[in-house]
């Protein structure tokens, strides 16, 4: 509606309202009288409130600070709600206030009690006040119900509180017992493990480790020594193979050969200085020849002796025992002995080492189990100790409540009979009836103009269809139409006056009768 100005729209709206005046006026009559009727029918509600003081500042409190756990006022509001909604309290209050009596059926009574429960509101105000509110159509009854509830609460509150702290104590006590059993079980397990693993003592691990290290060192050392002994044995054995057991002294043949060689050298040097026929040279040559002759004879004699099978006589001076050989032999046997010894020692060390390692392994296993059991034991012990403390605190709290020395309830302000009703009052209905009676029908006409696609604004025609509006002809009413309209208009005015009269009369009645 971009081309429609607000003035145009208001004009059309006003005209449409007049056009539909019958519907508008009837709408006004129905709505306004409907609201008036509703205002008459809907009962007035009176709200009564009582406050209960939760008195927790008594002489014992500073003494029990941190030991006993005093109940919070919010918890008391919850307790109050629970208590007030309990069957006993509701039954008593309903009967005392006259809401239910013997003439009603059980079902009717239940319905009334349910409504009563719904109408009660319990809330905590500030740090130590509990507010009980109840709404009723009869002001006296509202006050009675609230005062009854407050009285019942003060009476029942003490026992309820007592019961609650007792149940708290009992719960903690049960827990303490449970944890005690757990602790005993943990201790037993720990003892069993210790007796099963005697070597699993504190510090055992370090000593075993030192021993293992020592054994390992010894083992390595022995292995090295053994290797050395073996090498020595080998070398001695090799040397021994190169020596004969008996050293044969030089034979005559040998001696001759040696002589010959010496003579030959002498001869060679003589010949450098002298001629071959020098007497020294000749003499030397002869000596060599003699010696060769002697070797030949010696060989023949040996051959002859071999052939005849006769053992050749060996000169004592010629055969001697070999001293190096003897020494080597003794060394070899000493080395053999050492090897044997070392091998035995190696075996023993190895066995010892294995044993120690096995022991160490067993020690580790038992230590893990020990740690686990110890942990269980410690956790259980801590919880048990905490619970013990709590149980004692709960015991004190319980005793306080039992003795009535904890928190006290006292009716701080009892309910008075309410004078003014709460919620929507008759006046509100009257005003709403008049305002909505006018607004709703006009709103409907407005909605019709907005929704109806049919053209009511001439400016729209020129804007959309592109045609100029050359004339705007108002509705031409005939005389009959005008007189009909006049009659209808009067009727409408009379209707409105009647409605206003009814309003005025009822309002006046209400005023004079009191609100």
């Amino acid at each position: 509606m971009t081309t429609v100005s607000p003035e145009q729209f208001l004009r059309v709206l006003a005209n449409e309202v007049v056009l539909h005046r019958a519907a508008v006026v009837w709408g006004f009559v129905i709505i306004s009288l409907g609201f008036l009727g509703a205002g008459l029918v809907i009962p007035k509600k009176y709200s009564a409130t009582a406050t209960i003081l939760v008195d927790s500042s008594n002489i014992i409190r500073p003494l029990t600070e941190g030991v006993a756990a005093p109940t919070d006022v919010r918890n008391y509001a919850r307790i109050a709600e629970e208590l007030i909604n309990s069957r006993k309290v509701i039954d008593d209050v309903a009967r005392d206030s006259g809401l239910t009596d013997e003439t009603q059926s059980a079902f009717e009574q239940e319905v009334i009690k349910e409504k009563l429960r719904e109408a009660i509101d319990v809330s905590s105000v500030g740090s130590n006040l509990i507010k009980i509110t109840y709404k009723d159509v009869i002001p006296e009854r509202a006050a009675n119900v609230v005062n009854g509830l407050a009285r019942m609460f003060v009476l029942e509150g003490a026992t309820f509180k007592d019961r609650e702290s007792r149940s708290a104590f009992e719960f903690i006590d049960k827990q303490v017992k449970e944890y005690h059993d757990k602790l005993v079980e943990a201790e037993r397990k720990l003892k069993e493990l210790r007796s099963n693993n005697l070597d699993a003592q504190p510090g055992s691990e370090a000593s075993i480790q030192a021993r293992i290290n020592d054994l390992q060192g010894r083992y390595e050392r022995t292995k090295l020594e053994l290797a050395e002994a073996k090498i020595r044995y080998q070398s001695v054995k090799r040397q021994l193979e190169g020596e004969s057991a008996v050293a044969v002294s030089l034979s005559r043949e040998g001696q001759y050969h040696n002589r010959i060689i010496a003579l030959q050298q002498e001869l060679d040097s003589l010949r450098l200085r002298y001629k071959d026929d020098h007497p020294d040279v000749v003499r030397t040559r002869h000596q060599i020849e003699d010696l060769q002759e002697a070797i030949r004879k010696e060989v023949e004699a040996r051959e002859a002796a071999k052939r005849s099978g006769r053992k050749m006589v060996i000169d004592n001076n010629e055969l001697i025992s070999n001293p190096l050989y003897q020494q080597l032999r003794s060394q070899l046997s000493a080395a053999e002995t050492q090897i044997e010894t070392l091998q035995t020692r190696l075996r023993e060390t190895k066995a010892l080492l294995a044993k120690e390692q096995d022991r160490g392994r067993r020690l580790h296993e038992s230590e893990a189990a020990l740690a686990e059991f110890t942990r269980d034991y410690e956790v259980n012990r801590d919880i048990y100790q905490q619970l013990l403390t709590r149980r004692e605190r709960a015991r004190v709290s319980m005793n306080l409540d039992v003795e009535g020395e904890g928190i006290n309830f006292r009716v701080h302000e009892s309910a008075t009979i309410p004078v003014k009703p709460v919620g929507l009052r008759f006046m509100h209905f009257m005003i709403a009836g008049l305002v909505l009676g006018i607004a709703i029908p006009i709103g409907l006409v407005y909605a019709k103009i907005q929704i109806d696609p049919r053209v009511r604004f001439p400016s729209l025609i020129s804007a959309r269809a592109g045609l100029p509006v050359v004339a705007e002809v108002p509705h031409l009413a005939t005389m009959e139409e005008l007189s009909r309209r006049r009659v209808g208009g009067r009727m409408m005015i009379i209707l409105v006056i009647i409605v206003l009269g009814v309003y005025g009369y009822i309002g006046w009645l209400k005023m004079t009768r009191g609100i």
Binding site: R11, L19, P453, P458, V473, P474, L476
Partner: protein, 280 residues
Amino acid sequence: MSKIDEALSKAAESGARSLVPSYMPSGSRESGTSMTQIVAPISSKRRGDITLMLEPKQLTVSELNKKRIVHPDMPDVRIVDSFRRLRTKLLQDANGKNLTIMVTAVRAGGGASFTALNLATVFSFDKAKTALLLDCNMQSSSLRHILRTSSEVGLTDYLESDSVSLDEIIQPSGVPRLRWIPAGEQREITHEYYSSVKMQAMMKALKERYSDRYIIIDAPPVTQAADATILADFCDCVLLVVPYGKVTERQIEAAAKLFENHERVGVVFNDSPDYIKMAG
């Protein structure tokens, strides 16, 4: 001057009463009849002399009020004024020429007859002028119940029959200086009449009959066949009546499209409730 004009003046002088049209289905065919002869002659004593027009019994003020016809002494002067303004606007646009105006509605019951009748009435307020209202609602005429007639014959009779003269169908309405041609007998199929040669000739004759006469055609609504578009061709301007709160924008747009070739088309926003005037 065209041939038709010559013929008309000639015929008027000779005082011939009627000529049989050659194309009418019901009329007897006369050989040699030309187009120049089909139009009824005009009596010389009436021609151009408005004051001599025969005025039968006039409608009284109460009758006018009852029939929803405007008159200068109306209690609600706003309606007369709105029609007067419309007249003035049309005359300004016409530059002093005689006007032929067609009034049609966007939908049936849109108030075209009401507008046409009252526009004609307002034209006839001027004592020096006359108005002729041509009722072309052959299917359902509402004017026949409103205006007076001196005889039963109307437009259909004239177009169908050679024996009916134009003078016979132009009838006094009961409103001073307002003459009208009733639709005549009710007919269902109508566009043949409006596209006929006789219709064209009649329109021409009517336009020229009085120098100071305004012709207003009350045409059927645009929703009904093509009558309004055919009739628009005879007219200088077209008035499209849009009733208040009865038609949608789309209907108006569709109606406007029918006359998009026509130069002068205007909208008359009719029947707007005017109980309360605000901001002008």
